[in-house]
Each structure stands twice: as C-alpha cells, then as structure tokens.
C-alpha cells in the first residue's frame, strides 16, 4: 500500500460569521505537501492564502472557522484532533514563520529562552539541555556568536537576525512541515537572498516540506517546486513552478505575470488588471475572476468552475480549458 501523503488538504472551506451572514473566505481548496518539497502559494491581499496557511495549524481567528473539508497529516484528519493533540502538533510537526519578526517574537524573553521553550514543552528537555540546543540552532541559522546572542532580547537584533532567530525557533523541533508566510517580505533584498539560501539548505538537511506564501512572484519562482495561485478564496491554477511561470494556463495567472515590469518593454505601459476584487467575492455564482477576465464568456458568470487536471500535475480552474 502507498504511504499517505505527508499532508493532504481536501475541499477546505473557511468561513466567517458576519452580521449579514456567512462569508466563505476560502473554499474548495485542495492540495498536498510532500516531504523535501516546497509548495509556493501566491495571490494578492485578500485572496485567502494566509487563512489557508493558518488552517493547517487550526489557528483561524474568530469569528472564522473551518466549516468544511479535511486536513490529513500522515493520513489522520487533524480537524478531528482534540485540542491537546493539536497543541502537540503545533511547532513540533508543523511550524510557522511570520512576516514581521518584531511582532512574532516575545519582547520580554531572550532569544535563547524563546527558542528553548519549544523543546522544554514538546521534548520535555531539561532547561540546560534545551538552552544548549537553542544555541546550536542559532549557530546553524547563521547567527554569529550564538551563545552571546542567545542572551539578547529581540530588540537588540537587526531585522535579518530576528528573522534568523524566528527560523531557529520554528526549526528547533525539526518539524515535518514549515509554513513561511511572507517570511522574507520585510527584509532587504540582499538579506532576503541569504534567508532564501538558508531555507533551501535547511530543507535539504531536515527533509522538510515548505509551504511558502508570498505575493512576490520572483521570490516564489526561485524557491518553489510547485506553485498554487489563489484568487478570491479559490485556487485558480496549480502547476510545477517552471510550467507555471513559462506557460501559465489560467487567464488570471497569465495577466498577473504580464503586469510585471519586463526589461524588453522598458518605459512602455504595463498590462493592468481592470477593476478590483469585490469584497464579497464569495457571492459570485461563477468564476471569481470572471468579472475582471478578458476571456470571460457567459457561462463563466454562472457555472461554479472547479479545478481540473489539464495535464499531468497541472490543474486549472477555467472554463476555457479542455474538458470544462
């Protein structure tokens, strides 16, 4: 029998209880994560990419909740886990790094204490042992004088060093899955390059799966093996990274890529996507992108279009694609 995938998400729906009714922020989201591979998740603000990530840790903020679907980690549905089992999973098997390390780190604890905390909780390590391991991990993520830096508080470190400390904290329990939500967005370009190299190195070393979320298509193209594009709470396209960037299939992916400055078209007007994302995109009957799509036909507004295989490993949610 085949081993179950490390993580498989099936038909996920995340909804918020609002005064005017249920807002289905994310729906029909299905994907898998594989050990040692990086899945890039791209989309503009409000596309549901961060909610999708938070659902893997069951950390959807109130009044939202996961209203449908399953999230199977090693074959077991974590949505059925008791809170206690869920806590054992967080940080230990699935951990996360955030965009802004200054708000994600605790300002009153030293860096070393925060990193060691996960070990004392999950591995029941002694304080001394945990501290030693924390220093070793700080060293591994490229912080010089790790033993001294472990005694610093977050405000003593530079932005890049704080991000390294947060990576050390996320990796101290050697998780199977690392979620990086805009993890390099706040960093300088040259520091971003260093952090990306570090993540790739650590992935090889620990054989982690990485879910890498970013609105920066360039960064995703440099780190992801596969890429998922979200718009209006749905997956529009999911393909291996080289295919997605060289031969995008969905009209949204195509137009999104064409809006980027291109050296060959210096000074020329860039492609724009007319209109904006409607606030209640979940009320659209058809394709979420149809109102802004230049290839939309009548059926696009009516039919609920799902993601279908258009080639091996390549999925797209567009009526113009074969088979729809």
């Amino acid at each position: 029998m085949l081993n179950p995938p490390l993580l498989s998400v099936n038909n996920l729906e995340i909804a918020f209880k609002l005064d005017e009714g249920l807002f289905r922020a994310v729906s029909k989201v299905s994907f898998e994560l594989e050990a040692g591979k990086t899945l890039g998740l791209v989309g503009e603000s409000g596309s549901g990419k961060s909610l999708t990530a938070l659902s893997l840790l069951r950390l959807i903020p109130e009044p939202g909740s996961i209203t449908q679907g399953e999230i199977k980690f090693n074959g077991e549905d974590i949505l059925k886990f008791a809170d206690k089992n869920m806590r054992a999973l967080r940080g230990n098997n699935i951990s996360m790094i955030f965009q802004e390390p200054m708000t994600a780190l605790n300002p009153v604890l030293t860096i070393g204490e925060q990193i060691a905390e996960a070990l004392t909780i999950h591995d029941k390590a002694t304080k001394r042992d945990a501290q030693q391991k924390a220093i070793a991990m700080l060293d591994r993520v490229g912080i010089p004088d790790a033993a001294l830096r472990a005694l610093d508080h977050p405000h003593n470190l530079s932005g890049g060093m704080r991000q390294r400390a947060m990576i050390a904290m996320a990796l101290i329990c050697k998780p199977d899955i690392l979620i990086a939500d805009e993890a390099t967005t706040a960093l300088d370009t040259t520091v971003q390059a260093q952090i990306l190299d570090l993540l790739i190195d650590l992935q090889h070393e620990f054989n982690m799966a990485i879910l890498f979320i970013s609105h920066n298509l360039g960064v995703v193209s440099e780190i992801a093996d596969d890429v998922m594009v979200m718009y209006g709470g749905r997956i529009m396209e999911a393909s291996p990274a080289p295919l997605l960037f060289d031969a995008p299939q969905h009209p949204y992916t195509q137009v999104l890529l064409s809006t980027l400055p291109n050296p060959a078209l210096r000074g020329q007007p860039l492609t724009v996507i007319e209109g904006s994302v409607p606030t209640r995109y979940d009320l659209l009957a058809g394709c979420r992108f149809a109102p802004r799509c230049n290839r939309a036909i009548e059926q696009c507004m009516a039919a609920d279009i799902s993601l279908v295989d258009i080639a091996p490993n390549q999925r797209s949610a567009c009526i113009n694609m074969a088979g729809q």
């Binding site: 370009t189 440099e222 980027l260 400055p261």
Partner: protein, 327 residues
C-alpha cells in the same frame, strides 16, 4: 551669469545629515549619531526620471526629506533652478493608508497644497480638484468621500492627485509602489509615466524594487549607508554594474525565469548600523573584493573608463579591474 540651458533643475552638493540619538528626558545621555547622509552630491535634469535605489538605512528617504525641506541639512547646498522650491516640489509617500488624513474629505486633502500656498479662489480650487481627480482616473464625485472608502491603489491615486494639484515641476516618490498589490503596482506605474509625459514633470523615484526602477528610470543612483556608491544611465547600471554592492544587489533581486535558485549570494551579513559606519569604504566588511586598503581610505566617485563619463563608481578596486580589461 547667463542662464545655461544645461543647468540642472535641482543640484545637490555635499549634503550631510546626521541625527543625534539621545536617551529620553532632558538629561538624556547621547547615544551616538546616525550618519544618514554623508557628502551626497548629484543633479536632476529637467524632464528626467532619476531613481535612487538602496536598502534600508541607506539614506534614500532622508534625502527626500531634506530636499523637500522636512529636514534641515547639517551641511551642503541645494540649488533649485525654478522659482519657488516648496511649491514646485511635491512628494508621494509609501503608505497611502498613513499619508491621507482620515478625517478630511478627498477634496480637502487634495486642495491642501493650494490652501497652504494661497493659490486660487475657492471656485478655482474646486475646478482644479475635479480636473486633477480625473487625471488620476478617479471620479469628480470622489471629492466628497473619505479615505476609508477607497482601496490601496485608489488611495495612492489620491496621493498623486494631491501632489499634482499645485502643478509642481519635480515630484519625489518615496517607495510609491511597495505597499500595493502586484496588479495595482502596474496601474500606478503606468499612471506615473502617463502624467509625467502629459505634464513634463521631473521625477525623483526612490525605491528598493529594481524591476520597477529599470522600467521607469532614465538614470540611477545606488546608495549604501548614506553615500552614493554608483550612478549612471539606467542601462549602464543594470547591464554593466561595476561597484561590488550594485552587482550584489542586482544578483540578489528575485527574478522569474531563472528557475530554482542556486546558492548565489555574493554578499554576506547585513548593512552596518548607520550609528557606527565602518572606516574607509562603508561597504568593505561585506565586500568579496575588499583589500586591506579598503578599510583605511574612503573611496570617491570616479568615472568608469570605456563608458560615457556619466557612469561614476566609488570603488577604486573595481574600477582598476575593469580598466585593465577594457584597455
């Protein structure tokens, strides 16, 4: 002196700006000096788009603030060829959620430069508001609305409308795209190019995003820790970067089409604190090419051989290597 046609619109000479850091309280102890700008000189020609690129702490935003008069320089001279510097230089800021007063209507926000500079009658102002809203593709009726009723991209259009209303000659845009979504960035970049052509504007475009700089700029200045390390035509800088920092910056910029990244970092560590810049060349502790002399002698901007002499580089070692291969 007769007016030279090649006289730049704005000339900046030996600009120095340091900020003293002090612990709180009147007896607060000095905690050192931030060297935000160190001897920065350049000129902006009328009608060009000059981009300033660099990472955080390189002084690019301080530069914008000194030019617009929001900070006084400690030393140096700013010569403006036009009439009234304050009225003819306007600024667009990074965050359109922070730069618009939430309690004013769009009309009041946009009219503020006219009111401050005492331009026009109320009726004329009203007409100008409507014109300028249309020129940034917003509706006349939007003047009655408040900032919270607009998306990020629309707010940036409002900020651009405010900058345009006093008909300035020079617009300083400080990271005008970086708070916006990818698809909105192209709209705003297009708008900036369109109004520049229509109004014969001059831009000082400050950004860390090399792709948009390469798209819009005529000339580029690269700054590091408050100093210019390289400057030249946009094509020279991007196709033929000479300073090791410029090379590292261009290599580090994420790009589509090169596939999964190979470990390629040319640059180690992070920018030193502007509180305590290194001796000699400020970049030498991170530079793969640095020699012992780099820590002693501060380099000066010198023309690169084999280029038109507008390509300036502050690295004698890179220039020497290059001159050996050119000649």
């Amino acid at each position: 002196m007769t007016k030279n046609s090649a006289q730049p619109l704005l000339e900046i000479e030996h600009l120095v700006k340091h900020f003293g850091l002090k612990s709180p309280g009147i007896f607060g102890r000095s905690r050192g000096t931030v060297h935000a700008l160190n001897d920065v000189s350049f000129a902006i020609q009328k009608g060009e788009t000059l981009a300033i690129v660099g990472e955080s702490g390189c002084g690019k935003s301080t530069l914008a603030r000194v030019i617009t008069g929001l900070h006084q320089p400690d030393f140096g001279q700013i010569t403006y060829a036009g009439k009234n510097l304050r009225q003819n230089i306007q600024m667009i800021f990074q965050d359109p959620f922070a730069s618009l007063n939430p309690r004013l209507t769009i009309g009041d926000i946009i009219a503020e430069p006219l009111i401050i500079h005492k331009l026009g009658t109320p009726a004329e102002r009203q007409k100008r508001i409507e014109e300028v809203l249309e020129s940034v593709s917003l509706q006349k009726s939007d003047a009655q609305k408040y900032p919270h009723q607009f998306s990020g991209g629309q707010r940036q259009r409002i900020a651009i409308a405010r900058a345009l209303i006093s008909e300035p000659e020079l617009i300083i845009a400080d990271e005008p795209l970086s708070a916006l979504d990818v698809s909105i960035q192209s709209q705003i970049l297009n708008l900036l190019m369109k109004i520049k052509a229509a109004r014969e504007l001059t831009y000082l475009f400050i950004s860390h995003d090399l792709a948009s700089v390469a798209h819009i700029a005529d000339r580029v200045i690269v700054m590091y820790l408050g100093q210019i390390v390289e400057s030249g035509d946009c094509e020279s800088i991007f196709n033929n970067p000479i300073h090791p920092y410029t090379q590292a910056l261009i290599l580090a910029a994420p790009a589509i089409g090169i596939g999964k990244r190979q470990k390629s970092t040319l640059i180690v560590g992070e920018s030193a604190s502007p509180l305590a810049p290194p001796t000699g060349c400020f970049y030498h502790p991170r530079c793969p090419k640095s020699l012992d002399s780099c820590g002693i002698e501060a380099p000066t901007l010198s023309p690169a051989l084999g280029e038109n002499n507008s390509h300036l580089v502050a690295c004698p070692i890179a220039l020497n290597d290059r001159n050996l291969t050119v000649s």
